[in-house]
Symmetry: C2
Subunit: 386 residues, 2 copies
C-alpha cells in the first residue's frame, strides 16, 4: 500500500426528506446563488423543496448550466456572484451543475489574470467560496469530492480542475429524485460510476487488499442494482444503493494508497468535446480497447476483477482477464449503451490523430498508472474503438 | 437503507514516515500536551520521532494513561491543561490514550459541575479542544471517530461518550509501529476490530447492499491478514491492511444507514470493569452466545456472513447462521484468544446477576438493534459464556 493523506470534510445528508435540512447548513445571513441546469428541477419538485427550505434566506437564481458545464455560461454566473456580493453557492443538479459550481467557487477567489488559467495551467484551489449541493443525478461523485471538469465550446476542450478548497460543505443525497430521471441518464450514471471504479482499480497490485475489496463492493452493488433501477426507478432500496455507490465510487476513499489510471477519461473527454457524446458513453466506447491494448500491464487485476466481481473461475490469468473485459462490455450493452464510436457518429475518421495531437500539444506524454501510455497509444486505442 | 448524516472531518496521514508531518498540522504557536501510556513509545522509537517533529513547538508531556483510560488519571491531566494553558492535545498511543484525550478535549471546555457528568449523564460534546493522534496500536478505530470509553476504577464502571466535537483533527497511521507490538496486543486488535464490524453488520437487513459489502470487505481482509501479522508483524503489506481495516471498521462509514447492535460491547465492558480482562477478549467471550441467544432475530444476516465471508454454501439459513457463529469462535481461537469467562477467572459465579442489576439500575432495559434485549437477556448470554 502506498502512503496517502485522506481528508474529506463534506457532510452527507442522505435519504428521503433531507432537502429541508439545508437551511441549517447555510449561514442565516448568507446571500445565496442557487445554480441549476436545464430546468428539470422545476418539474420534479426539487426546486419547490429547495426554495421552501430557504424561504428565510436571501436567494438569487442562475439556471441554464449545460450538461457539460460551459466556461462562457459560468463566466456569466461569476459576474452575478461579484455584482450581487454572493456569499454562498448552492448547486442543485447533477455532476455538471456541481462541477460548474466548483469552478465558480474557485474563480470567485482567484487572484490571477483570468479564471481560464485555473484550467489551462492546472492551478489547485486551496481555498474556495463556500458551497453546498443538492444532488439530482447520481453518477459523477462530484457531490463528495473536490474535482471538476469544465468545457469550453469555442475551443472544443474539456479540462479537469480541483483542490482541497473545493469539497462541498454539504451534499444532500435524496434517492427519491431518481424516479424522475430519464432512462438515458440513469444508464449513463450506471456506466459512469462503474468506470470511475475501474479507473482506480484496474491498474497493478500494491497489496492494498481492503481498497481492492471496497472497489469490488461498489462494482458488485452497481451490477446488482442496474437492472432494478432501469426497470423501476421508484424502487427506493435500489435507488439508495445506486446513489450511495455512485458517491463512494469517486469520493476519494477507494483510491487511497493505490495507483490510478484515468486514461479512459482522458480519451473519453475528447470525444465529448469533439462530438458532444454523453460522458458516460465515451467511457463505454474506450474501456474495452484500453484494457485490451494494455492487457500485459493490467491482466492480474483484470483477472482478479473477473473472478471476484463476475465469478469467472476458469482459465489462465490472461483468459480470465479477457473474460472480465468481455463482461464489462456486456454490462454496458445491458444498459442500452453502445460501445463503438461509429455507433454515435459517421464522422469518426481522423479522431485518433486529433486526440494524439492534442495530447502531445498539452504535454500529456506519459499517461496511465505506470506513466507509460503515450499519445500514440491513445491513438491506437481510439482506432480500435471506431 | 435508513436516512443518515455522515461527516468525518479527520485527516488521515497514512504510511511510513508520516509522523514528521504532524508539525504542519499543529499551529506553530500551540502549547501542546503530549499524552501517552505506559511508556512503550519510548522503546519503539515513536517518542523520538514525535518530539523531533515538534522541536519548534512548545510541548509538555503527560504519560501513564492506563490501558483502560482511568478517570482519576485523566483528571490530573486536566489540571495540567488548565494550569499550563494548553491549547492543543496530542495523543500518542492506542485507543486508550486517544479515548482519554477525547475525554480531556471535552472536559477542558465543559461548563457543567463536574466532568464526570459527561459520562454519567451521556452529554454529547459539540465542541472540544483541538487534538490530533499518532496511532501506535491498531484496534479501536478511535483515531478516526468521535467516540471514547472511559473507566473509573473506584466504582468499577466503564462509560461511553462522544460527539461531533471529538473527531481528531488529524491522525497518523504508520504501519511500521506494528512490528514492535506484543503478540497479545496484536491478537486483541485483530479480535476487537472484527467484533466492531460484527456489531454494525449482524443485525437485520435494511437493503443497504453497499454497507453490507463494505463490512464483509473489512472482515475478509482482517481474516486474511491475521495469520500473516501474528507470524511476522514486520510484514509491511499485511500491517498496512491490518491498520487500515481497524480504522475503517469503526470510523462511521459502514454504520451509515443501517441498524447497529453494540450489546456485545455493553456486556463486555462490564467484564473489563469487574475483572480487568482485556477489552477484545471480553468481546470474544460474549460473541458466540450473544448470536446463539438472538439467533431468530439475526439468522439472515449470520447466514449471509457465513456464505460471503466464510464460504459456507451448504445448509438452511439456520444451519449456515450457526456455521458462521462457529467460524467466528474458531477465528478467535486462531488468534490465541479464549472464549469462556472461566478461562480468565475462577470467580465468575454471580457475574450475570451483577451485570443485569447494573443495566437495570442504569435504565439500559432495551438494548440491541431492535431494542428488545433486556437485562435478563444479557444475564442469560453471560451465563452461557461462563
Amino acid at each position: 500500500m502506498n502512503n496517502f493523506n485522506l481528508h474529506n470534510p463534506t457532510k452527507v445528508l442522505f435519504g428521503k426528506g433531507q432537502i429541508e435540512n439545508i437551511s441549517k447548513e447555510i449561514p442565516a445571513d448568507a446571500k445565496i446563488l442557487l445554480l441549476y441546469g436545464g430546468g428539470s428541477i422545476k418539474k420534479n419538485g426539487i426546486y419547490e423543496q429547495v426554495t421552501e427550505a430557504l424561504e428565510s434566506h436571501k436567494v438569487i437564481e442562475f439556471g441554464g448550466i449545460p450538461a457539460n458545464p460551459e466556461y462562457s455560461v459560468l463566466m456569466e454566473a461569476l459576474g452575478i456572484i461579484k455584482s450581487e456580493n454572493i456569499t454562498f453557492l448552492l448547486a442543485v443538479g447533477g455532476g455538471s451543475v456541481i462541477d460548474g459550481t466548483k469552478f465558480l467557487a474557485a474563480a470567485a477567489l482567484f487572484e490571477g489574470d483570468s479564471p481560464w488559467d485555473i484550467l489551462t495551467q492546472n492551478i489547485r484551489t486551496e481555498v474556495g467560496m463556500p458551497f453546498g449541493a443538492v444532488l439530482t443525478l447520481p453518477a459523477t461523485g462530484s457531490e463528495m469530492n473536490s474535482g471538476a471538469v469544465i468545457t469550453r465550446a469555442s475551443t472544443k476542450e474539456k479540462y479537469a480542475m480541483g483542490g482541497p478548497g473545493l469539497f462541498p460543505l454539504f451534499s444532500v443525497l435524496d434517492p427519491t429524485v431518481i424516479k424522475s430521471i430519464p432512462q438515458r441518464q440513469l444508464a449513463n450514471g450506471l456506466a459512469d460510476a462503474f468506470v470511475h471504479v475501474l479507473e482506480q482499480y484496474i491498474t497493478y497490485s500494491v497489496g492494498a487488499d481492503l481498497q481492492d475489496r471496497f472497489a469490488e463492493s461498489v462494482l458488485q452493488t452497481i451490477i446488482e442494482v442496474a437492472p432494478k433501477i432501469l426497470k423501476d426507478p421508484s424502487d427506493y432500496k435500489a435507488a439508495s444503493n445506486f446513489m450511495w455507490s455512485c458517491t463512494m465510487a469517486l469520493n476519494g476513499l477507494i483510491s487511497q494508497g493505490v495507483p490510478s489510471d484515468w486514461s479512459i477519461h482522458m480519451i473519453g473527454h475528447e470525444l465529448t468535446a469533439l462530438f458532444g457524446i454523453d460522458h458516460a458513453r465515451t467511457l463505454a466506447i474506450i474501456t474495452e480497447n484500453h484494457y485490451l491494448h494494455n492487457l500485459d500491464d493490467k491482466k492480474e487485476k483484470l483477472a482478479q476483477y473477473a473472478t471476484r466481481v463476475w465469478n469467472v473461475t476458469e482459465g489462465s490469468i490472461e483468459e480470465r482477464a479477457k473474460a472480465g473485459i468481455q463482461k464489462t462490455t456486456e454490462y454496458f450493452h445491458s444498459l442500452g449503451i453502445d460501445t463503438k464510436l461509429s455507433d454515435y457518429t459517421d464522422d469518426y475518421e481522423g479522431t485518433a490523430e486529433i486526440i494524439a495531437t492534442r495530447f502531445t500539444e498539452r504535454g500529456w506524454l506519459k499517461m496511465g498508472e505506470r506513466g507509460t501510455l503515450t499519445p500514440e497509444d491513445a491513438a491506437s486505442i481510439m482506432k480500435m474503438s471506431y
